[in-house]
């Protein structure tokens, strides 16, 4: 208890100290106090009497209630909600929602590699870039339509996933992360310097918008429905593979590679598959991005993008599909919501992420399995939790 209080005290002082140079002493003290107050409040609420007797009962009720509604009806309800949603939004919000959709596809793809197979990929943005540029080049130089390019681009990105996978396979953990990071930077540098094909830093202009019949996609609302379809498709596909034999093989490789090998899992093939399967969704996100912006340049594919996508996956909860979607929504919408803070918004975002990692490292919707990994001292409690869930 005292330990926790000291932790809260130090955290708030630390935040005060780092914001002091920007905001002046008065604001820094106010910020420290407000962070301290909210943390204490949150801790007493979640750990104290209210949780045990109030929140727990409510959350159980919600759980039993939601388990009574068939999942299909729940899914249909959400699809319906998203279908009518843009009718109530202006173009600015639809545009942000479109961006969120693209990031959801990317984050779900990265979740396959990092969350399921446990391979840390810091160069994920490379596949996003390859997807976007492939469509841009096919569209401007070969006059391919959106729909004709899609399968070609996906094939290309899948192959590049395997190409990265081959040299990276013999590496583990941090070393793998460095190689993938290098791959991401390499791709960006090639795009920046291969003037004859990629037009260098100027980027490629006038990419053809998608067409269906005689309708040409121009308004944000058109893209909204296009992206919505692909988000649903991605979620469905990744959910299926999650529960399949391949998904379980990935989990086994993540948990214990030697055991996985002894069980007859072809670890080389499965790792390559996870790289290339994850890359496919990044490629799809890239095509959608290029089609929506109608312009691509190397600037959109910096290392920072890889980090943000990784943050989305981790914030929501590694390995959980709903968590990844939630994490993406937060990380795209929060900077927009924080626009009032002007140039402090990135600071506020960073602070939020740090608080999150200190108090809930498993992510917002991270399952008990992940929590057990991160907090081994509490392992037994969470193991029991798993059991009750399985029952």
């Amino acid at each position: 208890m005292i330990k926790k209080f000291i932790r809260i005290l130090l955290l708030s002082l630390w935040f005060g100290a780092i914001t002091f140079p920007f905001t002046g002493i008065r604001n820094a003290i106010l910020l420290s106090i407000s962070i301290m107050a909210s943390l204490i409040l949150w801790n007493t609420l979640s750990k104290g009497i209210i949780k045990r007797e109030g929140i727990e009962i409510v959350s159980k009720r919600i759980q039993t209630f939601s388990s009574k509604i068939p999942r299909r009806i729940l899914a249909l309800f959400f699809i319906f909600l998203f279908l009518i949603l843009p009718l109530f939004m202006n173009n600015y919000f639809i545009d942000i929602t479109n961006l969120t959709g693209i990031y959801i596809i990317l984050a779900l793809g990265l979740n396959v590699v990092v969350g399921l197979a446990g391979l840390l990929n810091l160069g994920f943005v490379a596949f996003y870039a390859i997807g976007a540029y492939s469509y841009a080049i096919l569209s401007t130089q070969a006059n391919f339509s959106f729909w004709a390019s899609l399968p070609i681009v996906i094939l290309l990105v899948g192959i590049s996933g395997i190409l990265l996978g081959f040299p990276a396979l013999r590496l583990k953990g941090d070393y793998l992360a460095i190689v993938t990071l290098g791959f991401g930077e390499m791709t960006r540098l090639v795009l920046n310097n291969w003037d004859s094909v990629t037009k260098g830093p100027n980027g490629i202009l006038n990419i053809a918008p998608p067409e269906v019949g005689s309708i040409v996609f121009r308004e944000p609302i058109h893209y909204y429905y296009l992206i919505l379809i692909f988000v649903i498709l991605t979620t469905f596909a990744i959910k299926r593979i999650n529960n399949s034999k391949i998904g379980r093989a990935w989990v086994a490789i993540r948990e214990d590679e030697v055991a996985a090998e002894a069980m007859g899992i072809d670890t080389v093939r499965m790792k390559l598959l996870s790289f290339s399967f994850g890359a496919i969704w990044a490629g799809l996100g890239g095509v959608l991005f290029a089609a929506k912006m109608r312009f691509v340049s190397p600037e959109s594919f910096t290392f920072f993008e890889s980090v943000i996508i990784l943050c989305m996956v981790i914030l929501g909860g590694l390995g959980s599909i709903a968590g990844v979607i939630l994490g993406t929504m937060i990380l795209v919408l929060l900077p927009e919501a924080l626009r009032g803070f002007e140039h402090y918004r990135m600071l506020a975002l960073g602070a939020g992420l740090i608080l999150m990692m200190v108090f809930k490292p498993e992510g917002i919707l991270g399952g008990p399995r992940k929590r057990a990994e991160l907090r081994p001292d509490d392992e037994r409690i969470y193991m029991q939790e798993i059991e009750t869930i399985k029952k």
């Binding site: 379980r248 989990v251 086994a252 002894a262 069980m263 007859g264 899992i265 392992e379």
Partner: protein, 233 residues
């Protein structure tokens, strides 16, 4: 059934195996005994394909298998229970078992499960529990059961009694005998030489990467050299 011919293996500059010859006949229990670093575990890893031999041949039912990757070895009918059990602690017992039958189809999994639960009634009781919550002995049973899920003809066991109380270890040895009675050939690596030899039909004694002795388990148990070096008498 299994034949190792003049197997050499090394980790970098260190030679772990220097010309190993082992032969195992069908329905036998054969044990490998020897001190730490004698190359017992390396021998098992080499058979299961996780470790590639530098020289020599491995024959299984008359076919060369030393160039086959580990996942194919499991399909052919050799399953390994790795040292230290290596169950997946966050998956349930049932999920662990299903992972063991990875190379077989879903229908076969359903067929094998009752047979497994007959040998290991404890695991049926704990079916829905996370693997990490089992006791050491139960985890070892789970590891053996998981290997059996692939319906192997030959089972490789690496130190099944490691870190277990003597009574529990005895239980595990009894189970190994039972599995052997059901027609599975067993190659056993053990530090507990006495218990291993009592269980086995034949034994090999290894020292620094070489086989120094090979005999029926009974004569090894009575051999004065072995008694002195490995049975603590």
């Amino acid at each position: 059934m299994l034949k190792l011919e003049n197997i050499y293996s090394s980790y970098g500059p260190i030679e772990a195996l220097k010309g190993i010859n082992i032969e195992i006949k069908e329905k036998e229990i054969v044990c490998l005994i020897g001190g730490n670093g004698a190359g017992k575990s390396t021998t098992l890893m080499t058979i299961s394909g996780i470790n590639r031999p530098k020289r020599g041949r491995i024959l299984f039912e008359g076919k060369e298998i030393h160039n086959i990757p580990p996942h194919r070895i499991v399909e052919i009918g050799i399953s390994q229970v790795p040292e230290g059990r290596r169950i997946l602690p966050k998956l349930t017992v049932r999920e662990n078992l299903e992972m063991g039958a990875f190379t077989r189809g879903k229908k076969e999994t359903e067929k094998v499960l009752p047979w497994i639960y007959e040998i290991f009634p404890v695991l049926k009781e704990r079916e829905k529990q996370a693997g990490g919550t089992l006791s050491g002995g139960e985890q070892q049973m789970l590891a053996i059961a998981r290997a059996l899920m692939a319906k192997p003809k030959l089972l490789l066991l690496d130190e099944p009694s490691l870190g277990l109380a003597p009574i529990i270890a005895g239980k595990i040895f009894k189970i190994i005998r039972e599995i052997n009675d059901k027609g599975v050939t067993v190659l056993l690596v053990e530090q507990n030489a006495k218990a291993a030899l009592k269980l086995s039909h034949r034994g090999y004694v290894m020292e620094t990467g070489r086989i120094v002795m090979e005999d029926s388990a009974e004569s090894l148990l009575n051999d004065p050299g072995v008694r002195k070096a490995y049975l603590g008498e």
